[in-house]
Amino acid sequence: MDGTAKKRVGNKLERNDRLVRLALLVIAFSAVSVLVVITVFIVGQGTPIMFRYGLKSFLAGTSWYPSEKLFGLWPMIVGSLFVTAGALVIGVPFGLSCAIVLTEFASKRVRGIIKPIIELLAGIPSVVYGFMGVIILVPFIRKTFGGPGLSVLAASIILGIMILPTIISISVDSLQAVPPSYREGSIALGATRWQTVKMVLFPAARSGIIASIILGMGRAVGETMATIMIAGNAAEVPHSLLAPVRTLTSNVALEMSYATGEHREALFATGVVLFVIIMVLNTIANATSAKRRKQP
């Protein structure tokens, strides 16, 4: 080997590789930078007004009349909470059922049909879901139960459907991650399929399933267009399932196009509250799935 020639080529290649590495590192920080910039902008735009009017009056105030400088977010916080809880009541049982059927009961062929259909569910635009709510669900609720139809109930059902893909895909992943030996052991002991699911698989996949529910919650809290279309948007604390309701997201989306001055700031403050809720949910979901990864 010709040592000197070798070294020259080598140094050039090595330098190139180091440059590439540096460039990739910079690129790799893009997601983090975007997160930081978003946080800075939303928080920077939204927090001053919160402190000007007092955190308590902002979060616990029950009147939202921007024209009279009344910025109480309580009805929207409660609204988001109700609608999300409702979505979970609908979405969790259906989602987990689908996940169990997909992993434990369905034949390969049936799975091949159901899985793509459920993945389609994730691709349908939220405006289409909202529209279906308006056209079918809202009139149905109005006729059957009375009230305006645009309601907590309608929003819960539609959001419940919308969070299904999240719940299903993550639960399926965590059910599939349970070692086959657990399943075989349980069956060998004479347990039925369902008993195996109930006593062995569910406990083993628990943290993943919880993470799926929390992430589904995040989706429900964050959904905007469908909620605007079917929830009724009254900025009042709802007193029944059939009452109209406004969520934090709707509050922003409804008024953003014309808000100015303090009103706009208050909408950003709404965004801050939403942002905090989402970050808390994300962190919990991350922590639970990290715990799952650590358990061998």
């Binding site: 590439v20 930081v36 059922s97 039925t192 964050g222």
Partner: protein, 279 residues
Amino acid sequence: MKRLGPRIEEKAARIGLLAMTLITVSVLLFIILFILRRGLPVLNLEFLTANPTDMGKSGGIFSTVVGTVALTLLAIVIAAPLGVGTAIYLTEYTWGGPVTRIIRFGAECLAGIPSIIFGLFGFILFVTKLKFGWSILSGGLTLAFMLLPTIIRTSEEAIKSVPPAYRNVSFSLGSTKWQTVTRVVLPSALPGIITGVVLSIGRSIGETAATIFTAGSALRMPTSLFSSTRTMSVHFYILAREGISMPNAYGTAAILIIAILAINLLTYYLMNRFIKKYS
């Protein structure tokens, strides 16, 4: 009786679970068929190629198709290199440690942020602070940020599933790291990466909250990156919500559904090819 108990429970559970699954599947099929049944009769070449007139009450949806394509294209052109680059860094150039954890955490958090927050952010940064106005540029940048985590995650998975033996072969033949990445790893991971990109295209076509506040809702044909435009989803939303024209709303929705169906089929095809290649 003791022996019958679990068996009855098993049967009940099976029936219950299957029923719930069937309901889920039928709801979805119902939505798709409902939209298609009302939307397909409206569809024809003219609907696609004519510009909307009278606020969308009549005419077609051509300018919104152009707007959607432009916005999506811009978003992908920005997000794909960043996302794939990040995935390459995470899988090939680092062995874990705090920096990697920060990058992963950032991507995961970003994935959970609702689109309305992206909309707010894009509005304040691109539309007002940077004075891009409601424009394809503002909307495309905002969408790009939103798609970034999806592209990172799918690319990372695709790259990770390339057999390590391929890398050893490439290194042992005297390739540098970068040559190994570009000549062996990326070509093998390409179908998986494209699948992620295609999924992101689907997401950006269906997105409304993030685009309405950044790209605006102008019905005019966009002429530059700084033109405001209305995407098909936004157009559908406005048509339906303000009751401007139900037939046109259904027509637009049908196009959206068809696009999503096509995209899902395409991802299925790509994924199958990807899986076949390595089994």
